[in-house]
């Protein structure tokens, strides 16, 4: 027994020494030493940048010590759910919208109205603000819009004009399809516009489209359709406008042969690599991909999405929250703001994140903090395709941040129907009628 006691004692002494060591260095003029935990996800490089930001924060805030806990995306929800269930939730966290809104409604997340005021719309992009009833859950972490990326060399070789960067000049859907056909080539070098084109032997695809909602939803909105009715009690994806847009999306694959099938996409490498190896000419993807494209040596550019009626791109973000049981809300809020500050976090300059605050979009001084910063890594057309696009063409808040029970609506009704549609087994109309029928019992209104 005495041996264990010795080990235990040694451990306690060591821990005491360590605590004394850090305490000695930190204990300057702090009334209290505040410890915060912060959970986040992200790739290895994101993790690095975030850890650097946390270190810088801790150095510049001697009275606050933030402990960052990186949790891989795949296990994040499980982990944070168990943390909440066992009352060990972090102070500040990234949170998927499937959880965030429900938890805010239950009062488990801090209402940030005292900090952000009653009209945060004056300060932030309106779609990056999240409300649940009277509770101001907070803002996103950063923002990002959906864009068209393209390989300039492939366009030059095919003699096709680059996709416009200004929303006002955006291609119509028909122009988009026409250009995509000129860019699609089979193994004998025929384009999809040639009569001899062989759709079973495609070498280069005109455009890669994402299968998740941000890949098709923008066109539904652009065509005047919507995801759900005003009250959020009915799915409206089978409206004529929505079905027209979705059918056009399906036609890219099976009628025009300019887009790979989902099974082809599923096992192909990421868009930046495909485009670099000239297997696709264009790819629709989020603004956050800029950072990946910067790592390639290809001659690339960005443009806005094609339009049906009105230019539209969804503003996508991840809720960033403070848990209500935090003992240090003021300090937590200080860190909360720090995480989304382009002057402190490198991810804004490197092209993963766009900011939340309007001044970063509307003033030259603000733009110089990210897009036009000397260390900024954005192509010149970003001022139109990202800045103006985010500011003026992002419409209303997208459904995942609005509808109750959205996780189940997607899982049980929308995703299976979209999968069938993209597999080409049913038409857009049939798929969406089925989705609407299956969603009927799941719709619970808006937050």
């Amino acid at each position: 027994m005495s041996r264990y006691q010795a080990v235990l004692k040694a451990g306690v002494i060591a821990a005491g020494l360590a605590a004394a060591g850090t305490g000695g260095a930190m204990a300057q003029d702090c009334a209290e030493q505040v410890d915060l935990t912060f959970t986040f996800w992200g790739s290895a490089s994101e993790k690095n940048d975030m850890e650097t930001a946390i270190r810088t924060f801790n150095e510049s805030h001697p009275c606050i010590t933030v402990t960052g806990q990186h949790i891989p995306n795949t296990g994040y929800v499980e982990k944070i759910t168990s943390m909440l269930a066992s009352n060990t939730a972090p102070d500040v966290a990234y949170l998927s919208e499937n959880q965030a809104f429900a938890w805010a409604a239950e009062g488990r997340l801090l209402d940030l109205s005292p900090y952000l005021g009653d009209t945060p719309e004056d300060i932030y992009l309106k779609n990056s603000i999240y409300r649940v009833g009277d509770t101001l859950m907070g803002t996103g972490l950063a923002t990002g819009v959906m864009l068209i990326y393209y390989n300039k060399d492939v366009f030059d070789a095919a003699g096709v004009e680059y996709p416009p960067a200004k929303a006002e000049d955006a291609w119509t859907w028909d122009e988009f399809v026409e250009n995509a056909r000129l860019l699609t080539k089979d193994r004998s070098g025929n384009t999809a516009a040639d009569p001899e084109f062989d759709p079973n032997n495609i070498d280069v695809f005109g455009v890669a489209m994402p299968a998740w909602w941000a890949g098709w939803y923008p066109f539904v909105v652009s065509n005047g359709g919507d995801f759900a009715n005003e009250e959020g009690t009915e799915l409206t994806l089978n409206s004529p406008e929505a079905v027209e847009a979705l059918q056009a999306y399906q036609d890219l694959i099976y009628t025009h042969h300019v887009t790979p099938t989902p099974t082809q996409t599923g096992t192909l490498p990421a868009a930046d690599i495909l485009m670099q190896s000239r297997k696709v000419a264009m790819s629709m993807d989020g603004m956050w991909r800029v950072t990946d494209f910067n790592d390639t040596r290809m001659n690339w550019g960005i443009g806005v999405l094609p339009v049906f009626d009105t230019p539209y791109t969804p503003l996508i973000s991840t809720p960033k929250v403070i848990f209500a049981q935090t003992e240090h809300p003021d300090e937590a809020f200080e860190f909360y703001q720090y995480v989304s500050n382009p002057e402190e976090v490198g991810l804004f300059k490197s092209g993963l994140w766009a900011p939340l605050e309007l001044t970063y979009f509307t003033t030259q001084e603000g733009l110089d903090k990210w897009v036009t910063s000397p260390e900024g890594e954005y192509p010149p057309e970003a001022l139109d395709a990202i800045v103006d696009y985010s500011l003026n063409h992002t419409g209303e808040q997208v459904p995942p941040y609005q509808l109750r029970n959205i996780g189940q609506i997607f899982n049980d009704a929308v995703n299976p129907a979209i999968t069938k549609m993209l597999d080409g087994t049913v038409s857009a109309q049939e798929a969406m009628d089925e989705a609407v029928a299956n969603a009927a019992s799941l719709m619970q209104g808006r937050w």
């Binding site: 429900a102 938890w103 029970n405 996780g407 999968t419």
Partner: protein, 326 residues
Amino acid sequence: MKAPDSMTHISSSTALAERSLDRSATAKSRLSKRQRRELYWGLGFVSLAVGGFVLLKIVPIVASFVISLTDWNVARAPSFIGFDNYARMLTADPLFWKSLWVTAYYSLFSVPVSMAFAFALAMLLNNKIPALGLFRTLFYLPSIIPIIASSILWLWMFNPDFGLFNAGLDLIGLPRQRFIYEESQVIPSLVFMSMWSVGPMMIIFLAGLQDVPNQLYEAVEIDGGNAWHKLWHVTIPMMTPTILFNLLISIVAALQTFVQAFIMTEGGPNNGSLFIVFYIYRKAFQEQQMGYASALAWALFLLICALSILVFRTSHRWVFYHGGDN
């Protein structure tokens, strides 16, 4: 050669246990100081295992039943709703029935197919062939590969456009298939894939085969029987205890299939591979319906219990223990 060895170990330890039982029953009060100390040590040693079992198994099982009677989304305190979750499952959730059907369909085929395959492999590897060790290693090897890695590997082989299987079909002039990307083919494809990891079952069959007494085969030979007679009248009857064991294990494993759906298909296409465990996971962690997920878990638990009891109850009709039934 291994099996008889371990048998003697088992029987000698059983004898020991019986002796100590005897002793504790008749002479409990007369434990010597030394015996008492041994008893404490013994209890101390098992306490970890028992404590772990109670804490990590019994408590969660009981807790999950209590949770299954509530509406709980983690954020709010659970509210007691009686058997509503079970009622919803049985009457108002088509996806529950779908997941049950998917799981049953998969199990019904994967269990016999993989057992037959493992049995055949074990028979082959029980012969005196050259490089026996190499073959045994080769066939066991897939079981060492983490299931995540092998799932990714199969994902590539199943790829309709540049996968190995369609390349093979092209070669012999058969039409291309979409395998796990088509609702009607996903389960047959996964059944096919289940044959890949029969290694452990094969090893158990192999051990069982080596336990079959040689004189029985000799008796068949003397009576003029051929290989078929040996298999049908000696090997299979003598192997029934091993078959029973493997049957139970693989039924339970098949009903708990998860990784294939999680890694390869996300339950799709169109919920065609919505295994019940994957459905439970989705309800619990994507949709935060802990109460309902617990109720689903209990439904699965009861199903496994019922099937196990059924197998055990019918086993006396077809399982033959050569040492006698008791």
